[in-house]
Assembly symmetry: C2
Homo-oligomer: 343 residues x 2
């Protein structure tokens, strides 16, 4: 399919998702690409009354820039893992998303960053949790994968590893954004008023970023990066740095999630989607829909969404919230972005 | 089946596992119980030339004590999660196992403890990573599940949560064992000699502990606790506190893993076994064998083992190392323990 036709089919289906998308064949239809990438910039309560036209333009521009960066990495035969890291680096450096520069603040008023990557062709993976001074957590996650015998490093130990690998300490000011600071103050005010911990704010955009890429050699890779939840406490680790929960890729399927991390961990969301594809023989779209639109909503409302791609280039982007920043780009090089249910 | 008959069938099959166990029906046979628990105390290079008769007796006594503690929790109608926590608490307090009191030392000469629990009936879960001063990490993991909105807490934040929950700080001396301290010195000496990081010692017994329990109401639960790997660095987090990797339970299937954590994370081992049972319709034994005896060995030798149980009380305990401390107890109350391939 061409990107244009694909977009039309997918948009038509997304429109019907709010009332239950019509199943076509073995699953809801999504775009199919030869090679390329799909990404998200977070799911949550995102509607046109909240998002000014200017801000919408900024979001779409950032998503497009990230898609193009990933595309350039793939165009000349680069590996899917390179595209994942290139695109996420752009999103981390944007103050718009809850990752890297735009990360939310913990209850202690710091930015605590989590990220993970997985190379589907080799099942190698790297992840970091609770890092406070690394500008691009996704680059550090890749270094864990490639330069350590471990998969997951945390806290000051992970920062120590970063220094050993020549990754400099980034000043805390880099991560400060007025919007996120205000969100923390609002959460603390609500907490003081209610007397109960207000860690999860359903109205917030979760804002995690993630990418799944398929390169010209047919290799899948996935990655996710986040600042977690506003006002989080006690060294909480969400799903983003957990292989199987927020990120997973194998030879057949790749997934990155965004949403209420606790539900993604308990449901091992990313791996569950790929396991359904592999063991049930269902389409990627159907597997992703079953988990995001059926299983998660039985447990809690508005938990989030995923992006997913299989080794044939089928793309799925279901979400059970009102919106999800998302986009994809195929071999023809046309970036398509969407935010709301309809586009 | 009775416990005795079950034991004979299982032992006969375990004997043949080293040369490929004969498949009976859709999988290798294991014991089946009405309700009860199965546990492990770690997999690794465990053979009769290394284990003195006295030490073997001590291991079997500790495994039996843990099985009986779990049994008592279930006998009067208690929940499977109570049995998991009761049994693991015994193993954590024993200096024999790499969890709680007998935990190995990190490169920094401290004990860094990880644990997780999951309640299959509700899909609720709790986990802690990198805690240094909590005597029974499994109790703290349960508190995370029941008293916080989160699934996973880490480092000093998790210790802060422990204090808020009234869990006292345990002096570091409690965790010191001469044997584990010597293991660290040996690892450091080998590292100095080779000039390379000696984090993974294939000759070591991994020693993680874990339990899967099935209560009289048919509810499954699973839990795992560990000190990680000797000489570990950079705040490494292994599979034990990761839901889906080292621990997983749902309504149909529960698993706890023990072994080389990085491979368990990358293969999402615990969830993969349960996904095969649910989506492929294979038996628990076959699913566990496929992952532990087929999939993992294609990536690396001697990666470890798992214990698993389904909601019909079928038990599987495959391992690809020379031994695994393990045992089970059913409704009749007879504890059975095993260490080597044959018993």
């Amino acid at each position: 399919m061409t990107g244009w036709l694909t977009g039309v089919v997918w948009t038509a289906c997304a429109l019907t998702l709010s009332v239950g998308c019509t199943r076509q064949g073995t699953g809801t239809t999504g775009p199919q690409i030869k090679w390329g990438l799909v990404l998200h910039g977070g799911a949550g309560t995102i509607d046109r009354t909240q998002l000014t036209p200017q801000l919408e333009t900024e979001y779409r521009a950032a998503l497009t820039e990230a898609l193009q960066a990933g595309y350039r990495a793939l165009r000349d035969g680069g590996a899917s893992i390179d595209a994942v890291v290139a695109a996420i680096t752009i999103l981390e450096d944007s103050p718009l998303f809850n990752a890297g520069r735009g990360a939310v603040f913990t209850a202690d008023g710091i930015n605590s960053l989590d990220a993970s990557v997985m190379d589907g062709a080799t099942l190698r993976a790297g992840a970091i949790a609770g890092v406070t001074d690394v500008r691009n957590p996704i680059l550090l996650a890749r270094l864990v994968m490639e330069k350590s015998p471990h998969v997951m490093l945390s806290g000051s130990g992970a920062e120590h590893f970063a220094r050993e690998q020549g990754v400099p300490s980034t000043p805390k000011e880099w991560f400060y954004t007025e919007r996120r600071w205000k969100e923390l103050q609002d959460a603390k005010a609500a907490e003081a008023k209610s007397g109960a911990a207000t860690i999860v704010n359903r109205q917030e955009k979760f804002g995690t970023v993630g990418v799944v890429a398929l390169d010209q050699a047919g290799r899948l890779a996935a990655g996710t990066s986040t600042g977690g939840m506003t006002n989080k406490k006690w060294g909480r680790i969400g799903d983003s740095p957990i292989i199987g929960a927020g990120t997973y890729a194998d030879g057949r399927c790749g997934v990155s999630g965004t949403g209420w991390g606790e539900f993604y961990i308990r449901n091992v969301v990313a791996h569950d989607i790929c396991a359904r594809v592999e063991y049930q023989g269902t389409s990627l779209s159907q597997a992703a829909d079953e988990v995001v639109l059926v299983k998660l909503p039985t447990q809690e409302k508005d938990t989030g969404g995923v992006i997913a791609m299989d080794h044939d280039g089928h793309i799925a982007m279901p979400f059970n919230t009102s919106g999800m920043y998302r986009g994809w780009i195929g071999a023809e090089g046309t970036a398509t972005t969407a935010i709301f249910r309809d586009k």
